[in-house]
Amino acid sequence: MNEVSQTLTQPGTAQTNWFEFAKRHRSLLASIFVLVFPLIMPFTALAVNILIYGLYALGFNLLFGYLGLLSFGHAALFGTGAYLAGIAIVHFALPWYAAIAIGVLGGVVMAAAIGGLAIRTRGIYFAMVTMALSQCVYYLFYQAVDWTGGENGLRGINVRDINIFGLKFDFIDPMTRYYVVAAFVILAFFVLSRILASPFGAVIEAVRENEARARASGYNVMLTRLVTFILSGAFCGLAGALAALHLSIVPIEIMHYETSGMAVMMSLLGGMGTFFGPFVGAAVYLLLENLVSLWTVHWQLIVGAIFVICVLFFPAGIWGTILKRMKQ
C-alpha cells in the first residue's frame, strides 16, 4: 500500500519541487521577465505604462490580496506620489532621484493619514471610507491650483538625462526610459518578496485568514493593518513618481476614484494575492484599452464587461488560474 502510494505521488512531488523552486525565486524570475518584456511589445511607451501601473497594482494587491482589505482609495496614494515628485521638480528644481524619494515619502505619509482613519472601520466600510477620503484628497489637490495646476494638471516635469555615478543616460530614449523604470520595479519585486517571506509577511496572511485567531495568538492586528497600508502606500507612491517622470505631466484625473478602480480591476484580472498577478492584470488591462480603442472610443464598455465576466466566472484571475493549474 505504501509503495503504491509512493510511486503514485512521485511525479507529483517532482513537479511540486519545480514549483517550489519557482516560488522561492519568484522575484528573480519576474525580474528576468521584466528585462526581456519590451522586446515582445509593439510600443515601448506602452511597456513603460504596464510597468508603472503594474507596480501600482502590486502595491494595491499587498493590501487587497495579501491582507484582504479592499481599498477604493489608492488613487490618492498614487496621485500624491506623482504630484509631490512633480512639484519637487517643477517648483524646487530638485534632481530626479530626490523627486522619486519625495514621491515615495508622499505615498507613505498619505497612506498613514488615510489608513490611520480607515483601519478603524471594517469590511465593507473600509472600501467606502477609503474611497470617500481619496475623493477628499482629490478636491484638495484640485483646489491648490498654485501648486498642482488644478484642472489643467501639473505641467513641465522635464527630465532629460539621468546621472548615476557620473554615467549619463538619455531619459528621452524610450528603451533607456524603460530600463530606468524597470530598475525600480525589480527593486520593488525584491522588497515585496522579502516582506512576504518575513515573519511579518506571515502575520499579514494570518490576519487575512482568521483575524480573531491572529489576535488571540498575540499579534497586533490594527498595527499590522496600518503598517501594511503604509507599505502599500510606499509602492504606490513610487509608481506615481515614476508616472510623473514618464508622462512629464500629472493630470488631475490621476486622483479620481476611477484610478482607484483601475488598481482593483488589474489585481482581479491578473489574480489577487498572487505575486506576479498585478503585472499580468496591468498588461491585459492596458493592452485591451489600446486594442479596443483602435476601433471604438467606448473601450470602457468592453473592459467593464470583461471585468464583470471575470468577477462572475474567473475570480482567481488569469495568473491565479495558471498557478492553480501548475500546482495540480
Partner: protein, 294 residues
C-alpha cells in the same frame, strides 16, 4: 459679514435641506440594499444617472414631468430586477467583496452605454412650468422646485415607512433583514424578497436622479460624484440604517450649503471632513449596524 442676516442663514439652511433630500433618497436605496442583501451597490450612482436620462428621453418623446415621476422609477427599477436576478444572485455566499466588484464593473458598462446612446456632453433639463419661480415662505423667497423636492422626499419616506411597517410584505422584508435563515425555514421565498428590495432601491435612486436633473443638468458622470458623497452619508448614518441615512443625508446637505456660503472652495472637502470627525468619535456611524429601521 454685513450682508449676513438671520433670514439669509435660514434660507441657506433650507437650501441645504432640499439638497439633503436628494442625498436622503439616494442613500436610503443604498442602505436598504445593504441592510437586506449585504451588497454595497457601486452601480447605485449609475442607476441615479440612468434615471435622469430616462426622464430626459421620455420628455423628448413628449411625455411630461409628472408622468416621469412614476415611469422613471418603474423602468429603472425593472432594470434593477434584471441586474439582481442575473448578475448579483449568482454571487451570494461568496463574500461581500464580489457583489461590490461586480456592481463596480457594471457601473462602467452602464455609463458607457449611456455615452453611446446620448453622447458624452450633457443636456439641460427644464424645470417643469408649474414648478418654476419662487414662493415666500416667511423668511424670504425660496425656489418652488426645491420645495417640491423636499415634498417628494417626505412622501417617498412616508410611503416606504408605511410599506415596511404596515404591510405583510414589509414585515417579511424586516424579518429577512434580521435573519434570512429563519424566514426561509418559515416558507418564505427570500430570493424573491431580495429581488424586490433591489428593484425598490434602484427605483428610488432613479427618482432621485430625475429630481436632481433640473438642478444640475444631465451628464453621464453625474452618478460618480454623488456616489462618493452618498458613501459619506451611509458611513455617517450607519450602514443599513434608514433612519441614519435620513438624518445624515440632511446633515450633509446642510453642511454643504453652509460651507458654500462661508467658504465656497471648501464645500466639497467639508463633507469628507465631517466623515473624518464622525469616524474618529464613532466608527460605526450614528446608528451602528443594528436592524433595518433602527
Amino acid at each position: 459679514m454685513a450682508g449676513l442676516s438671520f433670514d439669509l442663514l435660514a434660507l441657506q439652511l433650507f437650501t441645504g435641506v432640499a439638497l439633503g433630500a436628494i442625498y436622503v433618497l439616494f442613500a436610503i436605496g443604498l442602505s436598504l440594499i445593504f441592510g437586506m442583501l449585504t451588497v454595497v451597490n457601486f452601480a447605485h450612482g449609475a442607476f441615479f444617472m440612468v434615471g435622469a436620462y430616462v426622464g430626459l428621453f421620455l420628455v423628448s418623446l413628449g411625455g411630461n414631468f409628472w408622468l416621469c415621476l412614476v415611469a422613471v422609477p418603474l423602468i429603472v427599477g425593472t432594470i434593477g430586477l434584471v441586474v439582481e436576478r442575473f448578475l448579483i444572485r449568482p454571487l451570494y455566499g461568496r463574500g461581500i467583496d464580489y457583489p461590490l466588484l461586480l456592481t463596480f464593473g457594471l457601473s462602467y458598462v452602464m455609463v458607457e452605454l449611456v455615452r453611446i446612446a446620448f453622447g458624452k456632453s450633457g443636456y439641460p433639463f427644464d424645470t417643469p412650468e408649474l414648478l418654476q419661480g419662487a414662493v415666500n415662505i416667511g423668511i424670504g423667497y425660496f425656489p418652488l422646485y426645491r420645495l417640491f423636492i423636499i415634498g417628494v422626499a417626505v412622501a417617498v419616506l412616508l410611503g416606504l415607512w408605511l410599506f415596511l411597517e404596515r404591510t405583510s410584505f414589509g414585515l417579511i422584508i424586516r424579518a429577512g433583514a434580521r435573519d434570512p435563515q429563519i424566514v426561509r425555514v418559515l416558507g418564505v421565498n427570500v430570493a424573491r424578497v431580495w429581488l424586490f428590495v433591489f428593484g425598490i432601491g434602484t427605483g428610488i435612486a432613479a427618482l432621485a436622479g430625475l429630481l436632481a436633473a433640473p438642478l444640475q443638468g444631465v451628464i453621464p458622470e453625474m452618478g460618480s460624484t454623488i456616489l462618493a458623497e452618498a458613501f459619506v452619508v451611509t458611513v455617517v448614518g450607519g450602514m443599513g440604517s434608514i433612519g441614519g441615512a435620513v438624518i445624515a443625508g440632511l446633515l450633509v446637505g446642510v453642511v454643504v450649503s453652509m460651507t458654500s456660503l462661508f467658504a465656497p472652495e471648501m464645500a466639497k472637502v467639508s463633507i469628507f471632513a465631517l466623515m473624518a470627525i464622525v469616524l474618529l468619535i464613532r466608527p460605526q456611524g450614528f446608528f451602528g449596524r443594528a436592524g433595518l429601521m433602527s
